[in-house]
Symmetry: C2
Subunit: 432 residues, 2 copies
């Protein structure tokens, strides 16, 4: 509760990009509200960024400037360190280690840092009795880390699935709307600032993988394991796939899915066909959504803006409020006994959507269906779409439930057939 | 963090219905998980219920039994009191007061208690430096109180709207599916245990109103005001309305909507037409959903089971975990300066759906449209549906945006026309 005798919580901010500016703005503009809600006044006292001369649209009067962010940790005028530099190593990691070693609370929006070093940092936080918070690292403004680690504390969570990358969700949504191919929409998204100049982290699923690894650990109490993660991006998805998925009653979404199976965890990031009957299918554009399933709660769904200055800064400041309220524990639990094993994709079971681009000539269907039969793959539905004479045709099919090994073997076999005009494409159908 | 030296948190539970049983079950079955997550072991040490002899399916060995629930507050072997008795007054209120006066944390699932006495209890909690928690009182298993009060602390929230009553949402969903009238589905729901023998609290919107008053207060920092609440239930909704709404692109949902307008709060509970384009339109059956809008976050959506043993017990235990972690502040903030005024419905502006049941005779449309014109009500669309000859016909219309006063006046005027075969029905169209 509000206590006028509590000293002001002095905040040091490293990294003054749009999120850093947003954090400083919220702490200044909403000061009275934040004091009321957290019971303690907060103020930025020190900052660090690469270039001191950039006009950031707000005043640094009265703030200590540190050229080296790591110096924020030792500044006696800083009670809590906010890291918004980015990158899994380098200054961000050095600052995290330095702050926690000083016993100072550490708040970050850095998913790569937490996905790669969260467990070691968490152990250090426990040792030093200092909070380690990273609400902003996953799903931007959605308070999902708090929901999983506190709101659902009473539950055994056994599945978390989510749309965690706004750039990919935006690209897939626009592909559906316009029918334009991936490369064109990516180029437009880069011009609009929705995608980075180097889009690898987003479109190849790495950003989603970082966030999913964090969610798995928080939800299951599993050790954080960014390496035991199947990761596939969206570069191979065509508007054709999206249209056909729609006809079958599905949307295509880049998802992160983490499942607790017996005593193992399976983490996978890849495009999925999700039924139009699910809420997640209707989350479009740059929004994120996280679905958590457990016992006794059943299913809960959390949706909101996944990125951007305001939402990310909102999550950082929520963490600061927790620190102001006296939070001590780090959010990442020490790994629980149960889900210690990470499972590969080999055991994954699903129905699969398959697109085959084939020469428009007699005997094609016979060759394909024979190959499928030989791999014991059973077909739920199949459509052949002819194009202009002489152009390759498309064979689109949906398998009955099978497993990842079988589908890979049959795709390899089919890929080797003379009649194939391009490599086979398959997309997993998610059973939600 | 986990501290083996912390003494066990001793829990006293008043009320041993399904939720009480669920709480005891979770605390026993998930003991290791809860200790890991909250850093402190918890155990039920004392209970109270009306009848000691009922077989509740679990053992009371080693627990102290109190015939009077209020005695739990003074029991030196109880550190935190859980109230699951229900009712806004009587033993529930006495127990809350007694526990907080002892400086003991008080956890409740009782929406009526908090909606009616939350502010006084919160003041007592501040005075005694004891936590007051009521996550389970609103939207069952969805951790919405935590999301609003902690996860979104950095934001100025200016609108909260929600489906908060599973019984009404179930009835409306089944009306849509089957076309059966309200009374029949209510009777079935009562047989299935989805509705109470006396359904007033649910179907007349009072349950939703209790929950909305709590959400308003938590979201806006407004004083809790259950009386300044417009409340209308769903008894007058017909399958006909649902079908016509569907043709117009809407679903009918019983919603609670709370808005911060300038320095006033408007709270209203009534059936709404909501666009099929919104996520909330697709929340069917007994599920709940809460949408919170604010600055800088934009819109976030929370969906999950709104009632039932598991979800409600999950929320109660999450509160206990917060207490175990050392939470001190009550969630209800002392009322903020800004939203001190509550606004009535008179200023409400909306488009309205209107159903008029009229005699099937010449001149009807002329009489109705003249009445609308005289009240300066402008029509966006109008359909007349004739039934068998001699039977009353339906006139269904949607107005342009107007206000509550005008619609009420015109409905009164139209209701007085000779051609009317039944009282006019109007439903607000929600602009989401």
């Amino acid at each position: 509760m509000s206590d006028d005798n509590k000293p002001v919580l002095k905040v040091g901010v490293a990294g003054l990009g749009t999120v850093g500016g947003g954090v400083i703005k919220i702490l200044r503009d909403n000061a009275a509200l934040l004091t009321q809600r957290s019971g303690r006044a907060m103020a930025v006292t020190a900052v660090s960024a690469r270039n001191r001369r950039v006009d950031r649209g707000f005043s640094f009067d009265g703030l200590t400037w540190h050229d080296d962010p790591v110096d924020l940790a030792a500044d006696p005028n800083v009670d809590v360190v906010v890291e918004l530099i980015g990158g899994s190593d380098g200054p961000a990691l050095l600052l995290a280690q330095a702050a926690l070693k000083e016993g100072k609370p550490f708040v970050t929006a850095n998913k790569a840092l937490i996905a790669r070093h969260g467990e070691a940092l968490s152990a250090l936080a426990v040792e030093q009795d200092a909070p380690l918070r990273f609400e902003a690292a996953v799903a931007g403004g959605i308070p999902i880390i708090k929901a999983l680690s506190e709101g659902l504390s009473a539950n055994t969570i056994d599945r978390v699935y989510a749309i965690l990358n706004g750039t990919c969700n935006y690209i897939l949504s626009v592909m559906e709307e316009t029918g334009a191919p991936f490369e064109d929409i990516l180029a437009d998204a880069q011009k609009l600032g929705y995608a980075e100049a180097d889009p690898t982290f987003d479109v190849d699923g790495i950003d989603t993988a970082h966030k999913l690894a964090i969610l798995s650990s928080v939800a299951f109490g599993a050790s954080l394991n960014m390496d035991a993660m199947f990761t596939e991006g969206i570069r191979h998805i065509t508007p054709h796939d999206i249209t056909f998925a729609g006809e079958l009653g599905y949307k295509i979404k880049l998802m992160g899915v983490s499942t607790l199976i017996d005593d193992g965890v399976m983490q996978r990031v890849h495009p999925c066909l999700v039924s139009l009957e699910t809420a997640i299918a209707h989350v479009n554009g740059v929004n994120n959504v996280v679905v958590a399933e457990g016992d006794p709660i059943g299913q809960t769904v959390y949706q909101g803006p996944g990125a951007g200055e305001g939402p990310t800064a909102s999550a950082v400041v929520a963490d600061l409020c927790d620190v102001a309220r006296g939070a001590t524990s780090p959010i990442l639990p020490p790994p629980a006994d149960v889900p210690s094993t990470y499972l590969g994709m080999d055991g994954h079971e699903a129905r699969y959507y398959v697109r085959l681009t084939v020469a428009d000539e007699p005997g094609v269907m016979a060759a394909i269906t024979a190959a499928l039969r030989d791999e014991d793959l059973s077909i739920e539905s199949l459509i052949q779409r002819s194009h202009a004479a002489g152009e390759p045709a498309s064979v689109l099919l949906v398998t009955h439930e099978t497993n990842e090994m079988k589908i890979r073997r049959s795709m390899e076999r089919i890929g080797g057939l003379d009649v194939m005009a391009a490599a086979p494409v398959f997309i997993r159908i998610e059973n939600l």
